[in-house]
Each structure stands twice: as structure tokens, then as C-alpha cells.
């Protein structure tokens, strides 16, 4: 605004020319790569992309072919139990059911045991935020997103608080190998299943001389059967907040259908190479009700491959898109060849 009113300097001293600099930047003449998107120039990229995708896809498919996966839905097979669980007043009653299955061949390598849930919206917005990371780190928290699972009416805080913890999956699944009509419990590992950072950084028990005193003055979440310091009575380092079942459950899943790592087969004795072929039984202590939300529960046995995938989709995607790119490449080559005879105006 004020420019208009600025006064010129008096006297006629020669002021420098106002001619702008002749630099490449200011004259917008920086050296530049000017790609032309025409068939002739992009043809190689289609073929290269296609070849690359096909190669990767084939590799991924080959790799995932090595993957063993066995999924057993036990929500129907344990209908008695599920009926029992529909009534929350029966929470105290134990209910077991068994599911048999047969492995036709040996599963070699590390075998992982998952539980899977369907239609369980762990990614619900209010569910996702209903937790207190600070509490799980052993700190005392006043304000958190846990409401309404923060305290009981009498003011006793819940430990751990929040809807995620409250709804923790609490079926126990044991795997038995039926060898010659005797059932051998397959040895499994409870620990080492979660992220190292979770176990060692994100989750900590409150500091005290023992766990029960650490959690003194708190109460278990309403849906739980036992307080948090009794989650794993056998292993002190897997108890309280650092219990791996809890840790894994607290890592909320991205989808409503998901699975969480439950146990790993401990490779000792006859299971040193994996699971041998034969008949197996899952013995499940059925605590987790799913009928309310039409959920289903699975137990899954699986191996892993280096690529980390649990399904062959990615490989297929690569193959399909690789094929598409290559085909497109051929099509536009045809177009290009046809056009070259006609010669467009500029391409002399």
C-alpha cells in the first residue's frame, strides 16, 4: 500500500540497472529432463515392469506353496459351551470341549498356533482407544481413555483398564498328539510370541517386591476371571502386564477377522522337526463368548515363510499385474507399429 507514497531519492546518482539477472534459475532455464509420454518412449517400461512383477510373483507363489495352514473352527463344535457362555451368570462354570483333527503328513519347521476370531471388531474406534499405555507401563494414571472401564463404582481402579483389556480372549487351548491311543500334550512356548519392544519397552509391571502387592488396591476388569497378576502363575516373567497373551491381545487387530499368535510348538522330543503326521486333539477351555456378535472362533496351526505372508494373495497380485503390464506392452507395441506406418504429423 505504501509503495505509492515512497519518495525517490534526491539527486541523480546512477542507480544500478534493474535488469534481472541472467541466471538459469531466474530465467527458468534450468537444465531439465523432459520426458515425453508416447508409446515409443514408454514401451520398455511396460515390459520391464511386467517382467519384474512376473518374476516376483512367481517367487512369492512358490514360496507360499511351502506354507502349511490348518484352520479349525470350533465355535460350532463347542455349541454346548457357547450356549452356557451366553448367560453371563454362568461365568464361573468351567466348560471344556475337544476338537479332533488329523495331519496327513508331517509339518516340518516351526509350527505356530493361533486363535482366530471372526466378526470381532477390534478396530472399532472407541474400542481401539480404550486403553491406557501409561498404566500398562506400570505407571499410575489418572486421566485416560479407558472410560467406562476405569474404575468400579466404589472407586477401585481396574488393572488393566479399558475395553481392550476387559475383553481379552481367555480360552485356553491345549494340543494333544494322539499317539497309539495315548494323548501326549504337545509342548508349547508361551513366551517369545510378542514383539520384543512390547515385551520389554511398552509393558511393565508396577514396581514392587511382588506382583500381588504391586497390584494391591486394584481390581481385575469385570469380564476377567482372575486378576492380572494371576495370568500366568507358572512364570513370573510372563505375569501381570507383561503376560504375552495380554500383550498380544492389546495389539489391536486391523480387521474384524483376525488371528493372534497363541503358542509356538516347542521343538523337543518327537516334535523336534515339527508336528508329525497323525491324529491330534485340541482341548479347549471355552470361556470367551462370541455368539452375541455372531462371532466365530478358530484355532489355527501354521508355519511361516521368509516372505512373511500368510496367504498367497500377494504372489497372485504380482503375477496378474505382471501379466497385465506385459500384455499392455504387446498391445501398445501393436498400436505403435501400426501407427508408424501412418506417421503422425510431427514424427518425421
Amino acid at each position: 500500500v505504501n509503495k505509492q507514497y515512497s519518495f525517490p531519492t534526491q539527486g541523480g546518482e546512477t542507480r544500478p540497472s534493474r535488469c534481472p539477472d541472467n541466471s538459469a534459475f531466474k530465467q527458468q532455464k534450468l537444465p531439465a529432463w523432459k520426458p515425453q509420454l508416447t508409446i515409443a518412449t514408454v514401451l520398455p517400461s511396460f515390459f520391464l515392469t511386467g517382467a519384474f512383477c512376473l518374476a516376483v510373483g512367481v517367487c512369492l507363489i512358490l514360496v507360499s506353496a511351502c506354507l502349511f495352514l490348518s484352520q479349525i473352527d470350533y465355535s460350532d463344535k463347542c455349541s454346548d459351551c457357547s450356549k452356557l457362555r451366553e448367560n453371563s451368570s454362568n461365568w464361573n462354570k468351567e466348560c471344556y470341549c475337544s476338537v479332533n483333527f488329523t495331519l496327513k503328513e508331517d509339518i516340518l519347521g516351526d509350527v505356530f498356533m493361533y486363535y482366530g476370531l471372526q466378526n470381532f471388531y477390534q478396530n472399532h474406534r472407541r474400542y481401539v482407544i480404550s486403553r491406557s499405555d501409561a498404566q500398562l507401563l506400570g505407571r499410575n494414571v489418572n486421566r485416560s481413555y479407558c472410560a467406562p472401564f476405569t474404575t468400579y463404582r466404589n472407586g477401585t481402579p481396574m488393572a488393566p483398564c479399558g475395553a481392550i483389556a476387559n475383553s481379552m480372549f481367555n480360552d485356553t487351548i491345549d494340543l494333544f498328539y494322539n499317539l497309539n491311543s495315548s494323548a501326549i500334550q504337545v509342548p508349547v512356548l508361551k513366551t517369545g510370541n510378542s514383539w520384543w519392544t512390547d515385551k520389554n519397552v511398552k509393558f511393565r509391571n508396577p514396581k514392587s517386591y511382588n506382583l500381588s502387592s504391586a497390584f494391591a488396591g486394584t481390581a481385575r476388569p469385570p469380564y476377567w476371571h482372575k486378576p492380572v497378576y494371576l495370568l500366568d502363575e507358572e512364570d513370573e516373567r510372563n505375569n501381570g502386564y507383561v503376560n504375552e497373551d495380554l500383550i498380544i491381545w492389546m495389539r489391536v487387530s486391523a480387521f474384524a477377522t483376525f488371528r493372534n499368535l497363541y503358542r509356538r510348538v516347542k521343538r523337543i522330543r518327537q516334535f523336534a522337526d515339527g508336528l508329525p503326521a497323525g491324529n491330534y486333539t485340541f482341548r479347549i477351555s471355552y470361556n470367551f463368548p462370541v455368539t452375541k456378535f455372531k462371532g466365530r472362533k478358530h484355532v489355527i496351526l501354521s508355519t511361516v515363510v521368509w516372505s512373511g505372508g500368510s496367504n498367497p494373495f500377494l504372489g497372485i497380485a504380482y503375477v496378474v499385474s505382471g501379466t497385465a503390464a506385459t500384455l499392455t506392452g504387446f498391445v501398445i507395441t501393436a498400436i505403435h507399429l501400426k501407427l508408424r506406418k501412418k506417421k503422425t504429423y510431427f514424427q518425421k
Binding site: K34, P35, V42, R125, R126, W195, V252, A254, Q347
Partner: protein
Amino acid sequence: MFSVFTHNCISLHKVRCTNLRVRGRHFPSLAGKTYHKGIEKSTYNRTRYSTPLPGRESKTRVVRSNLLLPEAEVEKSRRTVLASNRLKTTKYTALSFLPKNLFEQFHRLANVYFVFIALLNFVPAVNAFQPELALAPVLFILAVTAIKDLWEDYSRYRSDKEINHMECLVYSRNEKKYISRYWKEVKVGDFVQLRCNEIIPADILLLSSSDPDGLCHIETANLDGETNLKQRQVVRRFLELVKFDPLKFTSVIECEKPNNDLSRFRGYIVHKSGKKDGLFKENLLLRGCTIRNTEEVAGIVIYAGHETKALLNNNGPRYKRSKLERQMNADVLWCVLILLIMCLFSAIGHGLWVWQYGEKKKPIFDVPGPDGKYLSPVLASVYLFLTVIIVFQVMIPISLYVSIEIVKICQVYFIHQDKDLYDEETDSQLQCRALNITEDLGQVQFIFSDKTGTLTENKMVFRRCTVSGIEYSHDDNGELMIFLLEKVNECAKHLEVMRSHEQPLSHLSPELCDIFDFFIALTICNTVVVTAPNQPRHKVATSKSMHRFGLSVLSSTSTDSTLLKLEEKLAYSAQMNNNGYSSQQDRTAVRSGPGEGELRYEAESPDEAALVYAARAYNCSLVGRLSDQVSVELPHLGTLSFEVLHTLGFDSVRKRMSVVVRHPLTDEINVYTKGADSVIMDLLLPCSSDDPWGKHQKKIQSKTQNYLNLYAVDGLRTLCIAKRVLSKEEYACWLKSHLEAESSIENREEQLFQSALRIEKNLHLLGATGIEDRLQDGVPETIANLRKAGLQIWVLTGDKQETAVNIAYACKLLDHDEEIITLNAESPETCAVLLEQCLQCVESKFSNNSTDEATGNMTVGFTPLYPPSSPVLSSLGLVIDGRTLAYALEPTLEDKFLALAKRCRSVLCCRSTPLQKSMVVKLVRDKLKAMTLAIGDGANDVSMIQVADVGVGISGQEGMQAVMASDFAIPRFRHLEKLLLVHGHWCYSRLANMVLYFFYKNAMFVALLFWYQFYCGFSGSSMVDQWYLIFFNLLFSSLPQLITGVLDKDVPADMLIAVPQLYKSGQNMEEYQPHMFWMNMIDAMYQSVVCFFIPYFTYYDSEVDIFSWGTPITTIALFTIILHLAIETKTWTFLHWSSCIFSILLFFFVALVYNASCPVCHPPSNPYWTMERLMGDPMFYFTCIISPVVALLPRFLYRTLQGTLFPTQLQLGRQLSKLPPEIRTQLLTKLNVKEAMRQTQPFADSFSPSLGSNASDCCKAYNQSTPLPTSPQTSESLFQGHTKAEHTTDQTVTASPQGVVLYGENKRPSSASSLERSVGFHEVRHGTSEMESLPVGATFPWSSAVDQADFSLLKWITSTPLFSRIGTVLHVSSSSLQNETQDSMCVLGSSLHVDFKGLKEQSSNNLQDKIKGTPADHCKSDNSETTFL
């Protein structure tokens, strides 16, 4: 004719137009270039100010000397009423900054929206993010803007401070002398003394001056950039004081309240004695001007500080919104709609999801509210609606506006830096004064250009003159006519002899007498100020030396003249040598400026200077000017001093100026008048054709008129010089009334005007001059290129028709092979009829033509570069004069006018006023919804510049008014080419692409979140961490698009210039069309589907957690978005590369740091160690590679196929630029030839059937008359045509005939044609004058050839002997057609009467008027005429 129009205009807009006469460059202005003409706009809307009367205190300001009042009262009065001189342009103070700035920022709706969303986060029921975090971006945006505002305000503060602390001399009561004070301490009523070259600190009433005549010269460059000096006068009564003493100043000044009208100041000063003196603008020194040429002045402060006229005129930049931005805003609204639909969908989905579980069976993952109660489905969906608005807010891009502003600032920077837009001659470069409409430059469809100073140099060169009917022309180099020079010398010699022998002057031959008077008039009839070159800004020290000769001359009028003659003789002998020498020197340079050691002339208009310099070249030089005396140096005679009795200044209504002088040789009172030929010719002494003298005079007049027409045809600016000798009695009589007028306080201007009219009559014609205004460099090429670029160029000029038409030919605006429709109507009815006819004819031709065009294309062959797009009939020009324009702009006719005009390739409006200029622009802008650009250099273009979408000022000769009003200021017209074709195109294309990309980017990102809602129960959950979500736009993906928006070049500059047609892409909005928004949206949807579902299926039924899955998605989105930009980027400099790489690295860096920062810091999300873990996972890489590839493959393929199969012009241009130079030039020439063929061929086709083979240079005269009952005014005016000479004042009378002329000269080499044309014209002119008494009454029948295809309806082919003499091919049609047409078009009369009897020339100076004279038979209601060129 023009004056006639002006008056009509007044009658139409009574209130507005009173100020129209302020100024305008409607003709070679004589003294009209006063610097205030540019503010017409502001004055239009104000009703006339009534002179303040005592007692109406509220309307006036009373100023008394501060020295008289007690100190306390001064303080009081200052504090209460009057503004101090302190300048304060800052908007904020330290305290008010925050609230005020925030308040201003919240005027922008987007800011309110974002703050609303951020605040929504604080509501627990609906919050989506950590509330503090959600505030971050909006605070960031607000802070950036606030800092920018603060910086601007601070620089204003600093410059204010600098100005406030300038020093000036103020009279101090205590010390009884002028002491130095700061400007800010100056108060109203203070006495201020100013020295030469000082800047005036406030509006000051001039009370004393060191100049003996009480004059003060000021330079107004700071106000308007004009560097010529203006005179200011000491208030009359104080002139007599020997020494001005502030302490004795007891008068009271009463004047108008502060206002912004620079051209007016009224008031009066009441002296102690009770006497009153009027105060006028000549008495006021305006703040900001500089004192020049005057040692010392003093005055009293009338207005101070913000009440000064300069500051009241300073009303900041306007806010313009570009077309693209308007379109963008519409699409932002679409985005809002999409957002609402998505939110609504989610809300309903969530309601259903909640509902399906029923009341009793609440699932365990459906978390109840904090009170432990579950929400009802309806309430849940309402809350969710608000939540998802927060989650999806990115859809409305928060950084869009900020990014656009940044990009525009950078674009402006680069335009500034272009050295092609720098003019070495004036050392000026382009200035962007509006920062936010750069992209409008790329979409201009109509250019409205001023002529003088814009297309031409506005450097006047004296080219030709005619004295008493004899023409003296100069050759191209402006060399002197030796012949004329000799005549001048001879004349002077004669005079000298006569004087020495004391013979009366009448012995001189009338011709020589005329020559002498002619040059005297050129020399003294002006307001030129003489300065010496060695001290440019000081008045030449002639006043003293002049008095040696001059004073005696002055006195000689009253005393005996013999004394004078004696002294003159003495002086003469001394001067003799010099004269002989200098005339030799001068011989070479008429047009060039002053040589070394010569006097310099400071004129208010370049025309004036040109005339004075020309006169000097003929040895008749102006050597000094005082307020009452001019000194002229002549060969042999020495210095003659003319006593200037009066100067009747120029105004645009009278269009002339006069000086009343006492001739030193004859002691006669002479009036020298100089003015537009149209007015002067009407003011000549009527001469009877009986006596030989009268006959001779008449002959001279008609010859002069011929030459004037010739000059006009050559594009020269013409002036007539006339003289009147007043008898003592006449003078005394006039003087009495004039003095009355001068001393009147009320209506002074009006009375002076009337007084001038009383003396400027019965003139004796001396001669005429033709001044050339050269075309600027490169104008024809620029116009040709701009036109190839699809721009329609209209020239709106105040010049007369012939001059304008010829300049138009010269600058290739009109082409010799195109037809020209000329509209000259006299009444609204005729105008309506004319428009109707032209339109019909053009329509028929057009429909005919369009088919031709199609077939024509077939034969030429389809050139992919230039698809036939323009519906504009490429070879039709329209010429319309101001008066007709006024009718055409009436609401009833404007549509027709527009329909006609838009069919024409170029439109030329002559004699148009500033108001009309702006009306035309406005009409086109509003009715055609077209993007308009107005370019001009003078104050008379200001209104047009302000009205147009893009206003461009030429920072040239005529001051800064236009530049001040403009959005862009360029040094030369030719720079427009690069500005529009290159920068305009780039800015538009860059911004359009960026905006589209912005929409795409946000939509694509938000859609990812939307798809997720289907898998999370529509709960408003987002898999992308809130930090990424909020900063994605601001941080990770903003830099590449900014770089592309600033630096991308779709076609290189040289191609854009070489193939101007590429500009059409901007005009047709090809880069950003409505469907492109939707295409981009669809593409965004597709890409988001790919980017969502590939990871979804990859991780389906796995143990992946929400953020471990969301982070790859974010990464994929980032890759996709950047690669998308990469596909769209056309040039890759290292900046592009680095910005893309930087963005990706920044994302990973931020993600890694953030994910490693701390496990509890960012509730509710906690992505601790996610990125680190993902980067060790091969799946992550596999997903991140395949998804962008699949997402972008279709777009890549589409771009490839489209670029190969159906390339746009731009793509072809790009391809062309990659070819080796030889091939490129070869192709380009080929293209241009084809283009030219394409344009001309169809036209030629349509021509030939009606015109026949050799009809090419057929001059078609078109005649029409109106059978409508002639309006009283019209008939009256026709009668009055006879008595025209008598009423020179009446502006309402319109006596010029109306008509349309269509002159088409088809397919002739243009150089030959112009030559031939002018030759032919000569013949006609001579013929006409010889045939004066030949009665030519001929009926011109319609030539309407029966076939509808031609234009015959409009072509009146004449068959007079006159026309056949110049070898015109004529069509004689059967006279029966005449009746037929009368029937069919009942509006047309038919008979044409051509009469060359020398009726008094009409006020119109139209060429055709002159040729055919006035219809003899005007008692019939038919107004008919022939027009011819």
C-alpha cells in the same frame, strides 16, 4: 463529433458526466494532460460540489493561522477535529495485532471451517484425534498468515516512520522565524516554507513565492509519475505583498472538507477587511509533490496527514479473484458435498451396525460411553457423523489456499525476473501489482487496448503541415522543408524591412502573413515551460535578460512604439549572428529533442512539445515564458515579446486552447487558437462566396480540409491553427465579461468555459499540422501473434476514426484483405437499424461460411495442431465511433452490438470516452462471460483497466495513473506477448494442474480412510496414525507439488512464442475443465481402492495390528501420490528430483523418529516401533512396490495412448520442441502457411460469387436511411446544419449523417493497396473540390445479388461518375431491387443524394462526411449518405 457525443452522454448520465470533461486524451491534447485526469472514476460518482457558503459549517473546513490562537486552543483544535500530519498506514498496534489479525483471518471461510473441526475434537463424544494435535495444522496456517501480515505491517510502519521524520521548515511563533520540524508535527494552520526540490509535506495553500510572478512549479511525479511541471499560483491578494509575514496573516480560509479529488479545490479566503478571494486548485500545493524551479515558497497548511488529497487517493490494492480460483472454489464445494456424502454414508452405516446387535446383545467391543450407557443407533450415528467429519477433514485441503498463495508469489517472482520483459531504454521491468491473478493471464480472450502510448510510442514527431492551403510535408526522417524554412526567413526579412521602414504589416502578402502567424501560433499557443538543459529543473534565467528587451515591449503597448522599435533594432543586430548559425544547425533535427546547450521545453502533452520544437526548427523559437509574456526569437527580427493577455486552457469539451496576445509588431489583439480540426473548422469566419477573398478563403479551407483528411489517412494526429484579430472594442467588451467570469466564485469553471466560447469564433484559418505518433517496436508482430493465439483485440481510442483506422492498418489490427464494417449512426434508431442489418448480413455470411470452412478444411487437410475451433469470422473488422457506441451500449442494443462484435476479428472504437471504454469492457466481461484484459498507459484508461479482469498498464510516457490502477505494468506493448503467451500460459497450466492434483491427492487419501470404514463397523476408526493423517498434506506431500506448481513447463517458452495457437488451451480452460475434476476424482477412487485392497488382501486374516497395517498404506499412498505427480510433471529439473526424494525421505525419517520416540507419548494411538519393525519385513516392501504400480498403470497407459494417438496441441508443441531446430523451423513455416490458407480460403470462396473476378478493390458505398419517423432532434439537427457556424457552443446538436460503410478490399498485397488507396483518394479529393458545383444526385440501388450467400444486402454499389473515375468496379443493379428491398426490409430507405455543394462542414470530421457532403434534401425525413473509402 466527439463533443456532440459527450453531450449526449451527459444527457444520459446527467450526474456522472459533468466530470467527463475533466480530461481525456480524445485528441492531441493541447494542455489537457493535467495530471488529474485519471481520477475521473472517483469523480464520476460524486455529485457536483456546491461552493461552500458561510453558515454551512458542516460542509466546509475553516482554517485560521495557528499563530493567532492561544497555544491551548491550537492543541484542542488539533486534537478534536483535524487530522495531524502524522502518517499511519499500519493496520495493527502491538496490542491489537492478535485479535485484529485473527478476526481478519476468520473472514476466510476455510479458516473458520478448520478451526471448527479442530474445536470439535475437544468434544469427547466425537473426538477423533488428540485435540491438541488437531489444532496444530490450523494454528500453523494461521501463524504463517499472521507472520506474513505482521511483516507487511512492520515494513509499513518503518516507511511511515521514515516519512514522519522528514523535516520541513515551520514558522515558530516564539522564535519568529521558520524552524525545522518533523513532518508529523505539522498542523493544519501552520505556516510552512519550502525550498526548491523539497517535497511538500501537506496540502498547502500557496501564499508567497520567490518567483516575481507569484508562481510555483511543482512536479507531480510522486502522485502520478508525470515529470512535466505544473504551475501553481500565489493567492491573488498576497501577490501584491512585498514580503509575506505569517504573523500578519489574519485572514480566514474556508474551503471544502478533505476529499480525494485531485483536480479540484474550492474555497475562499476572507480577509480582515471583509473582502473575499476565491481559492482554486491552482493555489494548492499537494502533499508528495516536489517544488521545482522556484527558490522558496511559503503557505499555510490546509489539509494534513490522512486528509491530504494524495493520501485520500491512496486506497490500497484491490482484491481480485482469478477465474481459476472461482472455478476451484466451485470444486471445493463439490468436495464438501462429497465429504458430506461420505460422512452421511458412514453415519448411516454405523447406525445400522449398532442396530444389528440390538438393545440387549451389545457386543463386547462396542464400548459404552463414559457413563456406562450404550448409545442408541440414532445418537451413535449422529455422533459418528461429526467424528468422521474430523477424520475426513483432509478432503477439504487445508493447505490448498496457502499452497496456492505460495505458488503465486513464486510465479510472480519469476515473471519479475524475466529479462525479456525488461526494457533497457526506460530501465524498467515488469511489475506485478496484483499477486493473485497470474493465471488469469493465461486465459485472456479479449484484449482491450488503448491506442496512443500503448500501441504507439506517444513520442510525437512533427511530420506535415499545411499553411493557407499549401502543403509542406517532411520526409520520413523528419527533415526540414527547406522551402518552408526559406519562406519563414523571407517572411521575417520582410517584416524586418517593414518594421524598419515603418510600413504597416498589411503590405505583406497574405500567404506570408499566414505563415508567420502560423509559426507564431505554434510557438506561443501552448503552456510550454522553457528550461535550460544544464540545470534542468530551474527555470531558464531569461526573465532578467528578457526584461531587457521584453519589458519595453510590454510597455510599448501602452507607450509609444518607436522606442520599442529602436530597442528591437539594437537587439536584433546582436542576435543576428546567432540566428544565422542556429538555423543551420536546426536544419537536421525537427523531431529530436533539444541538442546540447539548447533550451528545453517542458510540455504538458507531447504534441505541444512537438509543435514547439518544430517551430524552433523553422527558426521561430520560444525562448521564454512568463505568466504574462512569451518571448519568441525569430530570424532577422530578433526576440519578439508577446504580451499574453489570457490563456484559455485546453479542455476536452472545447477541444482547443487559445491565447490572447498583443502582437508586438502590430499592436493588435490577436487570438491564436489551436485545436481539433473538427471544432476549429466550425468556428471559422463564414465567408461569402461572392467576393474573391471569400472565395479564396473557402478554397483554402476546403484544401486544408483535404489535407487534414489525408493526414488522418496517414495516421497523423491533426490540429488546426487559427487566428482572430480583435478590435479594441470587441476585446474590451469580451474582457469585461471575462473578468467577471474569472472573479466569480461560484460556477467559475462554467463561466470561464462560456467566456472562452465567446472569444473563440470567427476565426481565420492559418493552417493545419500533422503529427506522427509512431508505432512502438514490435506492435504489429505482437498483435499478429496475439491474434493467432485466439485473442480478440479491440482498440478503444479517443482518436478520430481515420487516424485510428490507419493506425489499425499499420499495426495489422485491420487487414487489407478483410472487410470492415463501419458503424456511424446519429440516433439510437439508426443505430438499431444498422446493427440489425450488419448482424443479418454477417449471420448469413457466417452460416454460409461455416460450411465453407468445413469443406475448406477437407481440402487443406487436417492438421492435428490446429483443429478448426474459432467460430469468429476471421476476416471481419468493425469500426465504430463514440457516438454510435453510446447508442450501441444502451441496454436495448448491447446484445446486438455484442453479437456483431464477437463475430468480428477486431473491433475499433474511436472517439470513445474513458467511461465508454470501461462500459465496453464491462459489457464484454459480463455478457460474454469472457476473460478480458485491458491495456493502456494514460489516465483515460484507468477506468477500463479497473473494470477488466486483468488490467495492464504501460509504464511509459504518460505518467503512472494507469500503472497505479493496473494489475501488471509492462514497459512496452510488445512485452504483452511474452507475458500472456508464455508466463500467462505457464501460470495457468501450472496452477490448474496443481489445483487438480490437490483435489486428487486429498480425495485419494481420504478415500483410503473411507474404505476402511466398511471394515471397522463404520466406527470412524482410522488405520492411519493421527500424526500422519494431520501432517500428510502439510509436510510429506506438499513440497513436490509446490515445486511443480512453480517450475513445471509444459511447453518451452520459444515454442509458445513460435506457435501462439497453444495459448488457446488456456482460453478454452483445457487444463482444468469441470469434467477433469471428476475424472481426477474417479482416478483417485480407483487408486485408493488399489492402495487399500492390495494391502487388505495381503494382510487379510493375519495377526497384523491396526497401525502395522496402516503405516504401509500411508507409505503406499505417499508413493502413489508422488508418482502420480511424476507422471504429470513435464520437466524434471534437479529441484523436482530433490523435492520428491526429500519428501519420501522425510516421511521415513519422521515415521522412524516418531515410532521410536516413546511408548506412551501419543495417546490414544501408540505406533511404537511399528515402522522399525515393518522395515524389517519383506511383505512391506512387496506391498509398497506393487500397489503404486497397479494404481498408476491406467493413468500411465492413458497418458501414453492419449499422447500418441490424440495428442493435444500442447503435447504436440512439446514434441515439436524436441526436434532438431532445422526440422522444427521447417515444420513451423509449413504450419503457418496452412494456418493462413485455412483462414483466408473460405472467405475468398464466399466472396467471389457476389463480387466477381475483379471486384477486389471495389469500393462499396453503403447507403441507408431510416424510414422511421425521424426524431425531432434529428431533423432539427439537420436544419441546424446550415447554421452550424453560428452555434458553436451547443453540444446537443448532432448534424453528422449516419451510415454504415462496408469496405472490403479483398486479396490485395497490402503494401500496394495502401498506396493505391491513398492515390485514389487524392484523386477523389481533387475531383470533389473541382466538382463542387456539379449536382450529383444519384440513386444508389441495392446491389443485392439475388443469391442469399453474399453480403449484398449491405453492399450498396454505387454508380456515380465520381466513383467510376477512380476505376472502381461497380455493380449496377436493377432499380427494381430497390423497391424490393424496401419492402423486405422496411427499415431502409433508398435514395441517396450526393451533393458536393460546399455546405458548411459538419462537426463531424468523418471522412465520408467530407466526401459526400451533407444530403441536400434533408427536408425529407430520409437521412441518407454514401460512405466511401
